[in-house]
């Protein structure tokens, strides 16, 4: 399936005997869903005021389903690309488990349902943000940018960065500077994260005709861009502490994590040949996932121990 010479077209994919439930779950990109729900949860918890736990759970379910819808619609449109890449060839559509049209309808129904439910159960601002995110991911990133420009990940990354703002909007019915800072962190984190992966999969992307940065500008230019974005990300990771979203714990964790991010990025920039270069890119990719998770987990832990604006005594605070 990884042979680029195969005449793979968008019309090729027909399901054999219908997908299993697990195939439909895979269609929703569960690992991406987890990160989306987690960052949305942090936005929701970090927001001022309180939200009824039932409504918070309902909001998170809607956000998760909305993210799954975006994933399914991405797999519908990108089935031809997915079939040509080793990393994605085992997805349900190129494997023939679910037909392209089924994937499209599944995604469309989930997307519309998640937005309507979020609007009816929580508020329409968060629903509008969710709708905008799904539409941006599908129409702007998947259908346009991904096949058109090496900046696909830079601009398209905005879709993956919105969930904390949706969580914040669900809790407060508003958009604020604080939630925008959380958006910015994920937005700037996305390019080095994906480019580290793209360095390892350059042949795959070239074969599939996706103009990722390493394919268009080469690995050295990509490594330079990774380092530049990492140097922007490092101070940005500290901003939540400056604007009052994070406290002592967050400051300590963010400074260590951000410094390490730059170290991994510099290692990736420095190592340009052979196994060492691959290992450096792999390390950066793995660490970037851990970085975002721990950064937002620090915010979550600190916010969880603050009730009604009063910080509860923690071992690390006096």
């Amino acid at each position: 399936m990884a042979d680029g010479a195969l005449p793979v077209t968008r019309e090729t994919f027909e399901a054999d005997i219908g997908g299993d439930v697990a195939d439909y779950v895979a269609l929703m990109k569960p690992r991406v869903m987890f990160l989306v729900v987690f960052t949305a949860l942090v936005g929701l918890v970090a927001a001022p005021g309180s939200m009824h736990p039932v409504l918070a759970i309902a909001a998170l379910i809607c956000i998760a389903v909305g993210a799954g819808a975006a994933g399914a619609l991405n797999m519908w449109y990108d089935a031809d690309i997915d079939a040509r890449m080793a990393r994605t060839a085992a997805r349900p559509v190129p494997r023939g488990k679910i037909s392209r049209l089924e994937a499209r309808d599944f995604g469309a129904v989930l997307g519309a349902g998640s937005v309507i439910c979020l609007g009816l159960m929580v508020n329409w601002l968060s629903a509008a943000l969710l709708a905008l995110t799904i539409a941006f991911y599908v129409f702007v990133y998947t259908m346009w940018l991904k096949r058109a420009t090496p900046l696909n990940i830079v601009i398209g990354g905005a879709a993956g960065a919105v969930p904390p703002m949706i969580g914040w909007a669900a809790a407060t019915d508003s958009i604020s500077l604080q939630s925008f800072v959380l958006f910015l962190i994920i937005f700037v984190w996305t390019p080095p994260h994906f480019w580290a992966l793209a360095l390892l999969r350059t042949k795959d992307y070239a074969q599939a005709g996706v103009p990722m940065l390493p394919v268009v500008s080469g690995p050295d230019a990509t490594r330079r861009q990774i380092l530049i974005y990492s140097l922007i990300l490092a101070p940005l990771g500290m901003v939540p502490a400056i604007i009052g979203l994070g406290g002592t714990l967050y400051s300590a964790i963010a400074s260590v994590l951000s410094a390490l991010f730059v170290v991994f990025a510099y290692d990736c920039y420095r190592e340009r040949e052979g196994d060492k270069a691959d290992r450096a890119a792999k390390n950066l990719f793995g660490y970037s996932v851990l970085y975002l998770f721990l950064l937002f987990a620090a915010l979550l832990v600190e916010q969880a121990f603050t009730i009604g604006g009063i910080a509860l005594p923690l071992p690390w605070t006096s």
Binding site: V21, V54, M121
Partner: protein, 47 residues
């Protein structure tokens, strides 16, 4: 061929069951959210 038909039916049954469970969960969720959104004031309405 017979095995494929059996497998197709099994998958269809699993999908139907999953949809049924999801619909049931949605009914419960909508009911609880309605109660939460109405709040305690629902008991104070004039009869």
């Amino acid at each position: 061929m017979h095995d494929a038909e059996q497998e197709r039916k099994r998958r269809q049954r699993m999908r139907s069951l999953a949809i049924a469970w999801i619909l049931a969960a949605l009914v419960v969720l909508f009911f609880i959210v309605t109660i939460v959104r109405l709040g305690g004031h629902v008991a104070d309405r004039p009869l």
